[in-house]
Symmetry: C2
Subunit: 216 residues, 2 copies
Amino acid sequence: MPTPTDRTRPLRLRDRMTDDDTALREVLDEALVCHVGFIVDGDPRILPTLFVREGDLVYLHGSSGSRLALLARGDGVPVCLTVTVLDGLVLARSQFHHSVNYRSVIVHGTAHLVTDDSAKLRVLAAMVDKVGTGRAAETRAPDDRELAQTAVLALALDEAATKRRAGGVVDDEADLTIPAWAGVVPIRQVRGEPQPDAGVTVPLPAYLTGQPGRTS
Amino acid sequence: MPTPTDRTRPLRLRDRMTDDDTALREVLDEALVCHVGFIVDGDPRILPTLFVREGDLVYLHGSSGSRLALLARGDGVPVCLTVTVLDGLVLARSQFHHSVNYRSVIVHGTAHLVTDDSAKLRVLAAMVDKVGTGRAAETRAPDDRELAQTAVLALALDEAATKRRAGGVVDDEADLTIPAWAGVVPIRQVRGEPQPDAGVTVPLPAYLTGQPGRTS
């Protein structure tokens, strides 16, 4: 869906770019936390926050009183959204060729406040369902006061870049005789054993059982 | 070490701030990837990159040809550095009280290029040793060409904020009877089984053996 622009075209390592929309969506759907860059009084700021993708939009979660939400009033706020999933450590025989395997998405654009309450409710439910499909239906939806305290920002995926490094070590030929261990150490983000709150009597829902899933 | 400023003083959720220097250092030493925010032509940008802390400084890894390194020439580049470690999903009975457990550090300041070659070599070795102590000594240090291609930026920790959420669900009293599972799902980043490169005959080094470690 996105088309390359001056902001998404890389200066270097062009081979790590991918035009694959599926890869873009997978990274956004797998990761729970994104980092949002914006400008306050001429200074760069970054906010880590929760988000969800729906179609060709990402929605960011925030407090109505947060700087980002205040800046977005009216015409919206220019942002850079970044999602990074670390997949492995690449340990080469030379320090220079040490690297990491990763997948990342960077989105440039203007984030706008979602002001329609029914749209906000739908997006907030989708954020809860990102943890486990069906959870939104089991839990209490926000009341008017909670909804007023919560900001939802929408950002189009029109100007987005997906990058990845995968695979093994790339060492110089002359370094192959160096007696250092070389290879890839996979990295995964996993869910541990769920710890129920006091008083919980309902069984663990299906979306929390089974093998610890990759969650990033 | 840091003192609060207008940029590090939170607008809200002040109870999630900590003045603990140990917490600041632990997050920076545990995380492998940071996100660096900066401004290009008036637009916010974010670059995910590798870094290492030494004393009251963080050092960022980059390519000499990257936008960030080019902007840092001369007087340095104003940046916002963020490190986020996700520790768990907090699943409440109300959608509003869903949250995540996390630890995060945000550093504001001006990043400067490290221009002294011996200092660059030392920092790059420290980045390799962050994966496993002793690895820098086993691997080939950068030659002049590689060193010229690599940028190292230094950023002081003078203006830094550490935040965290830990612990369990905080639901409203009236919601405690809602029959939804509630609790915390821990999240950890783990290392998988190391995959040796072709031709590797040396045994797995001690820093890669044992239990998969928390790596973030």
